[in-house]
Amino acid sequence: MRELRAEHLTKRFGKTTALDDVTLSFEHGKIHALLGRNGAGKTTLLGIASNRLIPTSGQVLVDGEPVTDNPRALAKVFCTGDVRMIPLSMYVDDLIGHMGRFHEGFDAKRALRLAKAFELDVKAKTGALSTGYRSICQLVLALALDVDYLLLDEPVLGLDAAHRELFYRLLMEDYLERGRTVVVATHLIEEVAAIVERVAIIDEGRLLMAASADELRASGYSVSGRAEDVRAYCEGLEVLGIDELGSLAMAYVQGEPVRERLTDRLDVAPMSLQKLFVELTGKGE
């Protein structure tokens, strides 16, 4: 089966456990969201998947082959991220030139077109770019590269609204054209909610949940109304959390709505991925 798979992946940095026995599959040809709060282990997971880090135990497999120091598997993966891996003194156009020499499937002309669309100055040094344009520079490289597994770590870090919209549009076009696997690691859930097909949530190095985005949305709902009515409704149910404001309350409940408990004074609505994520990770954003 074509997939990028983490198998019993554990990564420790000294006494800190960044990933704790994570088993997770990113099926080929889908857009996946890897959700987690800051420090949840997203970057560590992608770092291992791109051979930047070595797992303490377990492994990451790309189409069945271990990725660590395996040139064949590594040729199928490209990872962007905020970890400084490009020399600051390198010019953007030189970087594009190098990409073409390192990767057979890199389309330099497309990269230059994308750079123009994002108004990225290709004559600038990468070290002179702002945070947003550093992200854009990496996205331009990623979108111009024909690899099977594209790992985007916080891809819209520092991007303004117009650039974010442009990136999501280009990502969708790229996906429809190539049908490759895209993993978007982020904590900005609402932005990716509309485009992702599968969602994995990790927290404190552990996998909390992995399912399709629709399954996750259907796994819970919100119920709102007067606080005492909401509390009465929730009694005995699996409640993820309750927000109260004066005499009003909104509860986030897992499972299906209980029709016999619903009254005219209660409103039921689907739960957003953002809310599900916040309640599952349990600390509030």
């Binding site: 051979n51 930047r52 880090l53 040729a75 970890v83 020399p87 390198m90 390192f102």
Partner: protein, 223 residues
């Protein structure tokens, strides 16, 4: 394809750095000679022949801080990054040795004024041996720099610096006279020792440095 691209990237960067170094040293030598020739000032130009052996470990450290990170971003394995670094540093050693040999052959004052090898062992040894000495010497110091950089990347700066300082201190305590005698023998400076000694010493140091770098590179990480 990736290894070839990596070697091209690193070698070009490093040889450019070494060429800039040669131009700066050359300019210093020319200015000194012009000043002396025109009698504006009477200055004795110090021997700068040791500088390539200082430059090489610095280049090895520099190529590790940026180069290896970049190569790993480009999808190279750890072994490939080491191979690329070694080949590229080797190219710089060849370049510096070639410059040294050309200077020894064609610049009149070079053998007795600037060449570390010819000044130490005598100008009769010629540019070819000067080339070999410079190449192996640069390779040895580059390998030490590479080993230090790889160990630093594997175990962290603090640990490697502490261990290095402790080692140097321990060596310093183990009888400076014996060590001085050892160096004299290794560099064939003692009466009756073979000229092959410094070459063998450099080759052995280079091999050990590369071995340490290779071993450390097996599990280093980019954070």
């Amino acid at each position: 394809m990736k290894l070839k691209a990596a070697i091209r990237y690193q070698a070009v960067e490093l040889v450019q750095g070494a060429a800039a170094f040669c131009l700066i040293v050359g300019a210093i030598i020319v200015v000194f000679n012009l000043l002396s020739f025109s009698r504006v000032a009477q200055m004795t130009l110090p021997s700068l022949g040791f500088l390539p052996y200082v430059l090489m470990p610095l280049l090895a450290l520099a190529t590790f801080s940026d180069g290896v990170r970049f190569l790993m971003r480009m999808g190279l394995t750890r072994s490939q990054t080491i191979v690329s670094s070694v080949v590229s540093l080797g190219a710089v050693c060849l370049f510096l040795a070639a410059v040294e040999a050309v200077c020894a052959a064609f610049v009149p004052f070079w053998p007795l004024g600037q060449s570390l090898f010819l000044m130490t062992y005598g100008p009769q040894n010629g540019p070819l041996l000067d080339f070999l000495f410079t190449f192996l010497g640069c390779a040895a110091t580059a390998a030490l720099g590479l080993a230090f950089a790889a160990l630093q990347m594997r175990f962290g700066t603090r640990r490697v610096v502490i261990v290095t300082v402790a080692l140097l201190f321990a060596v310093g305590q183990l009888g400076p006279w014996a060590i001085a005698d050892g160096w004299t023998w290794l560099f064939a400076l003692a009466p009756g020792t073979s000229l092959a000694n410094p070459f063998m010493l450099f080759a052995a140091v280079a091999a050990l440095g590369l071995l340490a770098a290779w071993a450390a590179s097996r599990r280093y990480e980019v954070r």
